[in-house]
Point group: C2
Chain length 222, copies 2
C-alpha cells in the first residue's frame, strides 16, 4: 500500500480528501498545523476526523503564522466578514497553502510517501489564489524538482480530488466514503461552546450546500 500524507484542517473538504485517500487504498498520515488560527476547534475536529476515519499517524505541528499577520484569521484586529464581498476576502492567509504543502512535502519525503492529498477546491470556495488548479499545477512542477526523492526518480504526486467539485458534490463524495460531517467544523468564528455563527463565508457555503443535497447538517449553529 502506498503512503499518503493528507493535509487535515478539520473542515469538510480535507476530511473528504482523507476519506478518498483511504478509499484509494493508501496508508494515511494526517498533518494538521496549529498556526494560531482563531478557530482552535479546527484542530480538535481534525483529531476527531482522523480517529474516526483511521490514520497511521496524525501529527499536529505548531507554526505560528500570527508572526506575519495580514489576515482576519491570524490577526484579531480584523473582523470576519459576514456578507459576500468582491475580490479575495480578508480571511485569506498569506501563503498558507504554500507553507502547508511544503511541510507535507518534507514529511512525504522523510517517510517515503507517494502522495500528498489536499482538499483544496476551486468551485464553492472563497476565491483564495492558492486553491486554483493552475496553482496546483505549478506546485506539482515545483515538487518534481524540489526533493532528493523526486530528483532520484520517485515521484511525489499532489492529489486534489475535490478541486472541481461543488460543495454539494463534496458532501455526497464524503458521505459515500464514510465521512461523518458532524465531526467537521467550518465556521471562522465558532463560539466558545462550539456553535457555528451561520453568517461567515465558510458557514454560508456549508449551509447552502447541505440545503442543496437535502441532508441534515448535524453541527450546532448559534
Amino acid at each position: 500500500m502506498a503512503k499518503a500524507v493528507v493535509l487535515l484542517s478539520g473542515g469538510m473538504d480535507s476530511a473528504t480528501a482523507l476519506a478518498v485517500a483511504k478509499s484509494n487504498a493508501c496508508n494515511c498520515f494526517a498533518l494538521s498545523i496549529d498556526y494560531g488560527q482563531r478557530n482552535q476547534y479546527e484542530l480538535q475536529a481534525a483529531q476527531s476526523v482522523a480517529e474516526h476515519l483511521g490514520v497511521l499517524e496524525h501529527k499536529i505541528l505548531t507554526f505560528d503564522l500570527t508572526h506575519f499577520g495580514g489576515s482576519a484569521l491570524t490577526d484579531k484586529t480584523y473582523s470576519i466578514p459576514e456578507s459576500e464581498a468582491t475580490g479575495i476576502p480578508i480571511t485569506y492567509v498569506p501563503a498558507r497553502n504554500t507553507i502547508f504543502f511544503s511541510l507535507a512535502l518534507a514529511w512525504s519525503e522523510a517517510i517515503g510517501a507517494k502522495y500528498i492529498y489536499s482538499g483544496v477546491n476551486a468551485v464553492d470556495y472563497s476565491g483564495y489564489p492558492d486553491c486554483r488548479p493552475e496553482y496546483i499545477t505549478a506546485l506539482q512542477d515545483l515538487v518534481n524538482l524540489a526533493t532528493k526523492k523526486t530528483v532520484e526518480g520517485n515521484a511525489i504526486l499532489v492529489k486534489t480530488p475535490l478541486i472541481h467539485l461543488t460543495k454539494a458534490e463534496i458532501i455526497l463524495l464524503g458521505q459515500e466514503n464514510g465521512v461523518d460531517f458532524s465531526k467537521t467544523v467550518s465556521c471562522y468564528q465558532i463560539t466558545q461552546a462550539g456553535r457555528s455563527c451561520g453568517v461567515c463565508d465558510a458557514c454560508r457555503l456549508r449551509m447552502q450546500a447541505f440545503k442543496e443535497v437535502q441532508i441534515e447538517d448535524k453541527i450546532d449553529y448559534v
Copy 2:
C-alpha cells in the same frame, strides 16, 4: 525603497545575499528559522550578520523539522560525512528550502515586500536539489500564482544573486558589499566552543574557497 525579505542562515552565502540586497537599495527584513538544526551557532551568526549589515527587522522563527527527520542535520542518529560522497548527501534536509521560501513568501506578502532574497548557489554546493536554477524558476512560477498580492498584479520576485557564482566568487562579492565573514559560520558540526571541524562538506568548501582567493578566513578551526 523597495522592501526585501532575506532568508538569513548565518552562513556565508545568505550574508552575501543580504549585503547585495542592501547594495540594491532595499529595505531589508531578515528571516531565520530555528528548525532544530544541530548547529545552533548558525542562529547566533545570523543575528550578528543582521546587526552588522543593518536590517529593519530580524525575525527568528521556530519550526522544528526534527519532527520529520530524514537528514543528518535534523536527526542525531546520522553522522555527518567527513569526505566527499557521490549523490545528494545525507545533510540534505527534506524540502527545507521549499519550507523557508514559503515562509518568506508569507512575510513578503504581509509587509508588501517586492523581493525575496536567498543565497542559494548551484556551483560549489552539496548537490541539494532545491538549490538549482530550475528549482528557482519553478518556485517563481508558483509564487506568481500563490498569493493575493501576486494575483492582483504586484509581483514578488525571487532573487538569487549567487546562484551561478563559485564559492570563491561569493567571497569576493561579499567583501565588496561589506560582509564580515568572521561573523558567519559554515560547519555542520561546530564545537561547543564555536570551533569549526574543518572536515565536513561545508568546511571543506569554505576552506578551499578562502585559499583560492588568498584571503584569511578569520573563524576558529579545531
